[in-house]
Amino acid sequence: MNNEELKIKITELLPSAIFDETGEWLNIHVTPTDWLSFAIQLRNDDLLFFDYLFCLTCIDWTKPAEEKPDLTMVYHFSSTKFRHHIVVKSNLNSSQPQIETVSNIWQTANFLEREVYEMFGVNFLNHPDLRLLILPDGWEGKNPMRKNFEDPINMIKL
């Protein structure tokens, strides 16, 4: 499906979705509350069939522009059957960032969400195993990839 067809199809599934076509692929903004049910439809719909989650990450907007949301989750999907792509984004509040996990739909999200959890402090609800993956034990509470992270000993400022 091309972008126009995807837009029509996704509007049917989720009328509240906001589209953005500035990037290479179709971007869709969803609210964290809609995310889980929308994700299940993305995976299971016969015409969409987004079975390959190839990139999952988070962006921290806090520092330069105040009007922007605090954190944005970014999911890159493609379909191994139809070869179409979409990018799903969801804005989170940095005081209590939380979103439903998709690790039971795409297994790869298990590790990727654990990485985002420790690096950005996003809490993934119902995640089967939300522990530190890369950072050493006892690191809880500090999120190194956040823009306001300070480490006076190990960080060298140029």
């Binding site: 190839f54 990139c55 970014v74 890159h76 297994q107 590790f111 990485e115 140029l158």
Partner: protein
């Protein structure tokens, strides 16, 4: 190539393994972080019942340098050099992904000469990486000699790289807009010599290892990863193509001059360690085929596009991906219009491939874990970043 023997034929009649031995409790052992078979500092916590694996938990981060955070402070010319230290065995290909992402954002046209040289370099890197994997893989499961055979040929590639790029391992040759310098005058001659030599040697590899009955028995039916699981776990590269998932970025979303050369995407249907092994062996032959088509047809002209001294990416998001020796490497740059990336994410192939290890290993014997890890071709700096 394969010699069917009595051992193989009777292999399927071996009695099923008892899943839970009577009176045996769970047993937790640590493999790594300093273990020769983990090829780096990977720490696996394995729960065993008897000799059967119940669970594999990777603990990462022993070589975590937070390259993504580091890149936020480096400008668009500098950050490329850091990525050679991620997957150090495919340094050129990592640099290619980053250079391509910046070129995409700047809408730079790369000269044809640079595009062709990039593809030749990428394929040489792929052969070098697969050779090291082949030697190490055979050593993991007990054959020591192949390691020396592999390094003998790999040395030739290192020499070619050293002449042109000045480095043997963490090469930095690609810049946004083209290449750092032109080729060494000996380049074409040396590459042709290497191709002639390697074509003889690759068949020797098959004779030495691939057809060996002990090797086949260690690999066949070990580490089964079904097609659905490979997709769900986000596997890419030979790990996925061994489960017949078609995902070669060079073929599906061609970049540089991959759409102008002829090569096959290698797919195997075995879904086991042997299938993943065969994919890499056959891929080396395809790489040679690609280099042969290009080595005499390097166009004349500029090797670098004219760029400004300070690069500024327009506001927006850019994603580029390439096929490294291990799979799909994605570079995701979020730019705010400054000279440094606002946020950069490397989608590393090893990270996703490693997450499938637990699924593959459950229910098999501890001794087979080494064969599975070998065929995933893990490079730890690529996983930890």
């Amino acid at each position: 190539m394969f010699r069917e023997t009595e051992i193989l034929k009777t292999g399927s009649q071996i009695l099923p393994i008892k899943q839970n031995l009577e009176g045996a409790g769970d047993f937790v052992i640590n493999v790594g972080p300093q273990h020769p078979a983990t090829h780096g500092v990977l720490h696996l916590v394995i729960t065993l019942n008897g000799e059967t694996i119940k669970k594999v938990e990777p603990h990462l981060g022993y070589i975590h340098r937070s390259i993504e955070k580091m890149c936020e402070r480096l400008n668009f010319r500098q950050f490329i050099y850091v990525t050679s230290r991620m997957d150090y065995l495919s340094a050129h290909i990592n640099n290619h992904a980053c250079a391509m992402c910046v070129e995409k954002g700047m809408q730079l046209e790369v000269p044809d000469r640079a595009q062709v040289i990039r593809v030749i370099m990428d394929e040489l890197t792929r052969i070098a990486s697969h050779e090291l994997w082949w030697g190490a893989m055979a050593m993991d499961i007990g054959a020591f000699t192949p390691f020396f055979h592999a390094f003998r040929e790999r040395e030739k590639i290192n020499e070619i790289m050293e002449e042109t790029c000045g480095a043997r391992l963490t090469m930095n040759y690609y810049v946004p807009g083209g290449l750092m310098s032109d080729l060494h005058p000996n380049f074409q001659k040396k590459v042709k010599e290497f191709i002639t030599l390697f074509k003889l040697k690759i068949d020797e590899y098959d004779e030495l290892v691939t057809g060996n009955i002990i090797f086949i028995n260690r690999m066949k039916g070990v580490g089964i990863l079904s097609k659905e699981d490979a997709v769900s776990y986000g596997c890419s590269g030979p790990a996925a193509r061994g489960s017949s998932v078609s995902n070669d970025i060079r073929k599906l979303y061609p970049y540089a001059v991959y759409d102008k050369v002829q090569f096959d995407e290698i797919l195997e249907t075995g879904c086991d360690s042997l299938a993943r092994y065969m994919v890499r062996i056959r891929e080396m032959k395809q790489s040679i085929h690609i280099i042969e088509q290009l080595i005499d047809n390097i166009p004349e002209g500029e090797f670098q596009a004219k760029t400004k001294a300070v690069l500024k990416l327009p506001k927006g998001e850019f994603y580029s991906r390439v096929e490294t020796a291990r799979g799909e490497l994605g570079v995701y740059i979020v730019s705010e219009g400054a000279t440094t990336p606002y946020r950069i994410k490397f989608r590393s192939p090893g990270f996703s491939n490693l997450s499938a290890l637990d699924k593959m290993a459950r229910g098999s014997k501890l001794g087979d874990l080494v064969a599975m890890m070998g065929t995933l071709d893990l490079v730890i700096p690529d996983i930890d970043r």
